[in-house]
């Protein structure tokens, strides 16, 4: 299996190689126009938000 256990908690491994290179275009339902419009609303900087450790 491709994940490891640390202190009983599942921890994800480092990014796979396919995440380090630009993705090749595949057929998609999303037109370039839709993707460009979608992208205009995507924040450029890392989004940091408060998180909870309990539930």
């Amino acid at each position: 299996m491709d994940y490891k256990e640390e202190g009983g908690v599942a921890v994800l491994d480092a990014p796979g190689s396919d995440y380090g290179t630009a993705t090749k275009k595949k057929s998609s339902r999303f037109t370039p126009e839709v993707l460009r419009e979608l992208g205009r609303g995507v924040k450029p900087e890392e989004i940091v938000y408060k998180q909870s450790t309990r539930e």
Binding site: M1, D2, D13, A22, F30, L35, E46, I47, R54, E55
Partner: protein, 428 residues
């Protein structure tokens, strides 16, 4: 499927400074909204159909947004905390069941729940380096447990708090799944599980077990390529979709023939076939498939790696509940996302409780000008002066109490109507 009570409790990721709600804890639609520690939580009212539940889950997004100042994300796996590993908060499913020990449900539920993620997973995890079918799966470490946190979360949760007549009912409280933005995913998550509970209660299910179910849950989540295989308890290899088909085929033979059941069974069969052929066929309906397609297409269009910060942001912004900014709702408005309910139904659910459960009575008691409740809980309301109204049966709308108190049921107050109208239908 049998009439039963459904509920969803969703904890939201939050950017605000202070988790102080501007709305009361018990809302006029019968829901409960509060700060659970340091995150907002919305518990739907008791619903008697999965369709009602989808409406009220979506209404919850609007109400939470109204109540808390700050950006809210409907994702229940947050970023890693330095030194503390990954953090996860919950999206808890609730099903009213017959009064039999919950432990008896475990053997039949585990293979179903382990493989259910293939059509209910929300998808995500790029921030941690790997896109997963169900990010929540990585936080489940036991086959069953009564504990809901840390390393003790179970595939089947045995927390035994029925919030109802204990001689008549139990409440199955499942914590193993993701929070879903997709109406279809919520509908199928609750609908298929309810049908499986019907089959268990009727003793219809054939016995099947999985080898190492916790590891299998995580391994399935890890594999977004398809061709999912599992090992059964007797050591045979089997397609994960075929595990689901054991439940589906039994349901087709024995499930009660109502419209919702037909719809859920039809979708269930269609989704399993598509998962075997090419999961991409489900990009309009299954959330993890849709999100993966969006992220990859966006990265390709922008000529950046999928691991790029903007793609990670897009993944997070797909869970933003603010309809003006959410990238999920951008796609929904473009007609690229399948739906179960309408915006008009969601709007109504922000104000109106389900009419066929105890939520109806509780909400009307609380919001009647002639009543002064001093203590409110799921199963009872106490009035000033000490009169207590027991609501032990969640399937009862308790109209007799409203008659007794002289409460005339009227349309809810429309305080937030314009605000929600703008959120749902307003211009961008």
């Amino acid at each position: 499927m049998k009439k039963r009570i459904y509920g969803l409790e969703t904890e939201y990721g939050f950017t605000g400074k202070s988790v102080i709600s501007k709305l009361p804890e018990w809302l006029c639609n019968g829901a409960r909204l509060y700060a659970d520690g340091d995150h907002p939580e919305y518990a739907t009212p008791e619903c008697a159909s999965v369709r009602d539940l989808v409406k009220h889950d979506k209404a919850g997004e609007l109400l939470v947004q109204k109540a808390f100042e700050g950006k809210l994300y409907k994702n229940n796996v947050a970023a890693a905390i330095s030194g503390a590993g990954l953090s996860s908060f919950g999206c808890h499913e609730n099903y009213l069941t017959a009064a039999r020990p919950l432990i008896e449900l475990v053997p039949s539920l585990i293979p179903f729940l382990v493989t259910r993620q293939l059509f209910t997973g929300a998808g995500g995890g790029l921030a941690h380096g790997k896109y997963l079918i169900s990010p929540r799966a990585m936080h489940i470490n036991k086959e069953f447990s009564a504990i809901t946190t840390a390393n003790e979360r179970g595939i089947v949760c045995l927390r035994d708090e029925p919030h109802a007549d204990q001689l008549k009912y139990k409440r199955l409280h499942l914590i193993t799944a993701d929070a879903n933005m997709s109406e279809v995913s919520t509908y199928m998550k609750m609908g298929t599980t309810s049908i499986v509970l019907d089959l268990i209660e009727e003793g219809r299910l054939p016995l099947i077990s999985l080898s190492r179910p916790v590891d299998t849950l995580k391994a399935l989540s890890w594999n977004t390529s398809g061709g999912w295989m599992v090992k059964t308890g007797d050591g045979k290899a089997m397609r994960a979709t075929d595990v689901q088909r054991i439940y589906l085929d039994t349901a087709i033979r024995f499930a009660s023939p109502d419209q919702t059941t037909f719809d859920v069974l039809g979708r269930w069969a269609k989704y399993l076939d598509a998962l075997d052929r090419d999961p991409q066929e489900l990009a309009g309906a299954v959330e993890w498939v849709m999100k993966r397609e969006v992220l990859e297409a966006f990265a390709a269009e922008e000529q950046i790696p999928v691991g790029h910060q903007r793609v990670k942001n897009l993944e997070l912004q797909m869970t933003d509940i603010d309809r003006k900014e959410s990238r999920y709702y951008f796609l929904e408005k473009k007609g690229l996302v399948e739906r179960i309910v309408t915006d008009e139904e969601i709007l109504e659910a922000t104000m109106e409780p389900p009419r066929d459960t105890r939520a109806f009575c509780r909400a009307n008691m609380i919001y009647s000008k002639s009543c002064r409740p001093i203590s409110i809980d799921w199963e009872k309301v106490m009035m000033e002066g000490g009169a207590t109204f027991s609501l032990k049966d969640p399937l009862d709308s308790y109209n007799r109490y409203l008659d007794e108190l002289g409460i005339k049921v009227q349309p809810r107050r429309k305080d937030f109507w314009d605000y929600f109208m703008e959120l749902l239908f307003g211009k961008e």
